[in-house]
Amino acid sequence: MTASRYGFFRANALSLVFGGLFLVTLVGQAIAGTADHNARQVADGLPAVSFLDYVTSSSFGVDVMENWQSEYLQFFLYVFATVWLVQRGSSESKEPGEEGTESDEEQQVGPHADEESPTWARTGGWRTALFSRSLGLLMGVLFLLTWAASSVAGWAAYNAEQLGQRQDPVSWVGYLGEADFWNRSFQNWQSEMLAVGSMAIFAVYLRQRGSPESKPVGAAHADTGQTG
């Protein structure tokens, strides 16, 4: 069975399934978040809010954005770090000795590109330089955008809480110096670093048969960079 005989859905199953799971879990968060928010509203003697009001609120916004930003930070760091850092024996790593951006021949760019290579891999100049880093750069830009959105939504949610507790609101710049902002950021970042570090080292000694995230079951622990 060749990949060319696959229909659209089977050929894109990984992206589609995770896209679907993302939407389902986002709706789950919205439903559970509305119930949790309203339980606290009632406890504070305040009126409950509608589902629509909650999903357009800063409370929901910051809860979503603070998770998104950390995911994009994780992939941004991982994509760039794995260019220069290796983990001997890990399927997540290149072979020791291959650190760096590698040669044009190895990367199939410029004169080494073939007819199926993307246009910007063939053209050279700034286009090839940009395309050569586009995955990491996009992750970095998405991290900065979602972190900025997280700071704005977090600022609004923090001030709503301040006002509810009869305290003065703070400016956006003032919020960037508040413990609330850094607590939200660090608590998400640390979990991403743990997940990435765990995966890099677990992949040395453990296997998942058939998964490209793992080495072949029979591969030696010292084998690096193999997937199966």
Binding site: D44, N159, A160, G164, Q167
Partner: protein, 131 residues
């Protein structure tokens, strides 16, 4: 190329204007309610109806009397609106002589705390407030 760019720009301007307009209208509503509550000429019943339900209940419970009988004893100097802050369903209005906190209810903005004195980094000390 020109048309999509122009459309995107126009959409961005419209969204920004809509959001700014909404925020402006909300601040006007909040300021109006705080001003009416603190209006020295306001009748007790008109003030009581502007209290949030939990605040009204706390006031009547603490004083063991209907709101209309006790609201007149609360010093509400009022004055011109100096600043309005609205975040989520919560708001603060700084008047010349007082600081008022409000919450959004199905009936509109209602006062949760009034006759408030700042206490540094601590919550305001308010003579009228909810739980």
């Amino acid at each position: 190329m020109g048309t999509p760019t122009t459309l995107r720009l126009a959409a961005a301007v419209l969204v920004t204007a809509a959001l700014g307009g909404c925020a402006g209208l909300e601040e006007d509503d909040v300021g109006r309610v705080a001003g009416a509550f603190e209006d020295p000429a306001a009748a007790p019943a008109d003030r009581c109806v502007l209290l949030a339900p939990a605040t009204l209940q706390t006031l009547e419970s603490d004083e063991s009397a209907p709101c209309v009988d006790v609201i007149g004893q609360v010093p509400l100097p009022g004055g011109a609106v100096e600043a309005v802050a609205v975040f989520g369903g919560q708001a603060q209005v700084r008047l010349d002589g007082d600081t008022v906190f409000l919450t959004e209810t199905p009936s509109g903005w209602r006062v949760t705390a009034a006759a408030c004195e700042p206490r540094g980094g601590l919550p305001y000390d308010c003579q009228v407030e909810g739980p």
